[in-house]
């Protein structure tokens, strides 16, 4: 549609559109940029009102302060634990479950699908789920962050839809050649399903990395705090005046080189760093996932 010669109106429209998009991009990215610049600032410039384009007197002290506190490392460990274990378990359970669900001839298939879909629209709510975790004895355990969210209806349905598109003749050929059903799935179907597996794994990983609410209600135990929760304490909870320690136990006033704000900014920068680094490369997989889900919805 862009091969025509442009009229005057088109050129005006183009300029207007491109300029407004660039401005919009700047608005979108500026908050992140501001915080990153703030994290490299010295206390003098950090408390100024103004645009932060570049750090004026560059300083790494806020990072040193953050990286000195143990709670960040244990938070990182706990976040990685739930992200890695949770993602692996979710992907395996979802894929094999969806495989079973994809068989049109399976008796009661519709009933099972409905049974799963129903949970998308109705649930017990906060307190009954909380009581369940309590009764299972998971309170304060890292598994309370993994087990309750092992899979969900959305993942299962998009995986099922994907598997249903794979040619069934491949399956039969493998079975005729004497492969067991399990071998057939692992050696033939699984490699063909890598697109959907990567989509589920990525969504699951981002979900785990960003979760904080479950950690707040199930696992607010010293040493088992996930990074997001540590961050929540640092960023959102009120800074106790004059103690020199942010909630969560990060020091900020052990010297005069940092302020609560630069330390907060540095902890934000550290947490979003892995996302910002990997996200541009993974973006297309996320988009693919939403497409698979939406068009079949």
């Amino acid at each position: 549609m862009h091969k025509y010669c442009k009229t005057k109106g088109d050129i005006v429209f183009d300029i207007f559109n491109n300029v407004s998009m660039i401005l919009l991009c700047i608005c979108f990215i500026y908050p992140f940029w501001d915080v990153i610049v703030l994290s490299f600032s010295s206390p003098k410039t950090a408390s100024n009102l103004g645009l932060r384009i570049f750090p004026i007197d560059f300083s790494l002290d806020a990072y040193k302060e953050v990286l000195r506190s143990e709670v960040i490392y244990s938070g990182l460990y706990n976040s990685l634990f739930r992200t890695i274990i949770g993602t692996v378990l979710t992907t395996i359970l979802t894929y094999f479950g969806a495989y079973g669900l994809s068989k049109k001839k399976l008796p009661f298939r519709n009933a099972i699908t409905l049974f799963i879909l129903f949970t998308m629209f109705f649930g017990g709510g906060l307190i009954p789920s909380y009581m369940l975790v309590k009764d299972l004895g998971l309170m304060g355990s890292r598994w309370s962050l993994i087990l309750p969210g092992l899979t969900n209806a959305w993942f299962l349905i998009i995986a099922r839809n994907f598997i249903m598109e794979l040619p069934e003749s491949l399956e039969e050929a493998a079975l005729l050649d004497g492969a067991s059903p399990f071998q057939m799935i692992c050696k033939i179907m699984l490699p063909l399903s890598l697109p959907i597996i990567s989509v589920i794994a990525l969504w699951s990983a981002v979900g785990h990395w960003n979760s904080w609410f479950d950690a707040m209600i199930y696992c607010k135990v010293q040493g088992k705090l996930v990074l997001q929760l540590v961050l929540r304490m640092i960023l959102i909870e009120k800074t106790p005046a004059g103690t020199g320690i942010l909630p969560g136990g990060v020091l900020y006033a052990s010297n005069t080189k940092t302020t609560p704000e630069t330390v907060k900014a540095a902890s934000i920068a550290i947490t979003i760093f892995p996302i910002i680094c990997t996200y541009p490369f993974l973006q297309k997989y996320f988009v693919k996932g939403i497409m698979i889900g939406a068009l079949k919805g």
Partner: protein
């Protein structure tokens, strides 16, 4: 001879049947953990909903606690908080629908008109980014942006001669902050579905419009927009299914005691009375009220959408 053949054929059928049963058995085996998971973590909490009709006593457990009928619901509907949290929830959802719903459509239309492929890609990448960051961090960033002594928003205000504003503790600004930061977080991501719909529009329509002398703005208004009309309507109706969920993560990380009068929604109320005040039964009742109404709305919206897409022969 004849009999032998028949026997063999029969045997073959039996083997095939057995192998089908075996296969099905195997598929059930695959599904078993999933079904067990849903029973344990979704259906048992649904059973626990009976708490809403009981007075919870720790020693008796959920099943053993005494029934009290509709006591908690009566308390909810006649209590002083109900009107406030319900209206807060609906007001926030209303503005989210009015502004938050149309923003991604406009954004997708403008994105589609970008002629420079690199600018388009960079815009997409940047606009999707906030969607992948938790509200804990986005909330922390918002606090910094809106800070009266350091934030860029107040810098711009002082540039124009205004006085710095304490945005996050001012009830009259809070809802706007929610809506704007919500758009910032999700406008790019929500535009994907519209972009996909736009990309499936037949190019011939644009060709003939060009011959008829239409410029790009006309094409956008009279071809692109009408072509994605059905998906807009569908998503609009589906959006109503969620009016009682007004974004717990976002509100919870931005609100504070000073703005509770406008920021307290059903979800935050359920959390506070349930897990802070330990009123388990009452909180379950509030949650159940929300879930039941939400469920009815979702079913209703899905039903309407189905009707519409049958009539329109829509994309779905």
């Amino acid at each position: 001879m004849n009999i032998g053949l028949r026997e063999m054929a029969l045997k073959g059928i039996i083997i095939k049947k057995v192998s089908i049963v075996k296969k099905m058995y195997f598929y059930y085996l695959l599904l078993l953990p999933v079904i067990a998971y849903f029973i344990l973590f979704h259906y048992i909490p649904m059973y626990g909903v009976q708490l809403a009709f009981k007075d919870y006593r720790i020693l008796d457990g959920i099943a053993g606690s005494p029934w009290v009928g509709l006591k908690h619901f009566i308390r909810l509907f006649t209590g002083p908080f109900f009107g406030q949290i319900l209206s807060n929830t609906l007001i926030i959802s209303f503005y989210r629908i009015v502004f938050g719903f149309f923003a991604p459509i406009v954004f997708a239309l403008l994105l589609n008109e970008i002629t420079n492929i690199w600018l388009k890609r960079i815009t997409q990448t940047i606009s999707y980014l906030p969607y992948f960051i938790s509200w804990v961090i986005l909330g922390g960033i918002m606090i910094e942006m809106l800070s009266p002594s350091r934030g860029v928003v107040n810098y711009v205000i002082t540039l124009f001669g205004g006085e710095p504003i304490y945005f996050l503790t001012e009830p009259k600004y809070f809802v706007s902050i929610l809506i704007i930061s919500g758009i910032w977080q999700s406008v790019g991501w929500s535009s994907i579905i519209y972009l996909a719909a736009i990309s499936s529009i037949d190019a011939e329509q644009y060709d003939s419009a060009y011959i008829d002398g239409a410029n790009r703005f006309h094409m956008m208004l009279y071809i692109t927009l009408p072509s994605i009309k059905s998906i807009i309507i569908i998503l609009f109706i589906l959006g109503f299914g969620g009016v009682l969920s007004s974004g717990f993560d976002q509100i919870f990380n931005l609100y504070n005691a000073a703005v509770l009068s406008v920021a307290d929604v059903i979800d935050t109320y359920v959390y506070r009375v349930g897990l802070n005040d330990m009123q388990y039964s009452y909180s379950t009742a509030v949650g159940l009220f929300k879930n039941v109404v939400g469920f009815i709305l979702v079913i209703l919206c899905n039903f309407i959408v189905k009707k519409i897409s049958e009539d329109e022969n829509g994309i779905w």
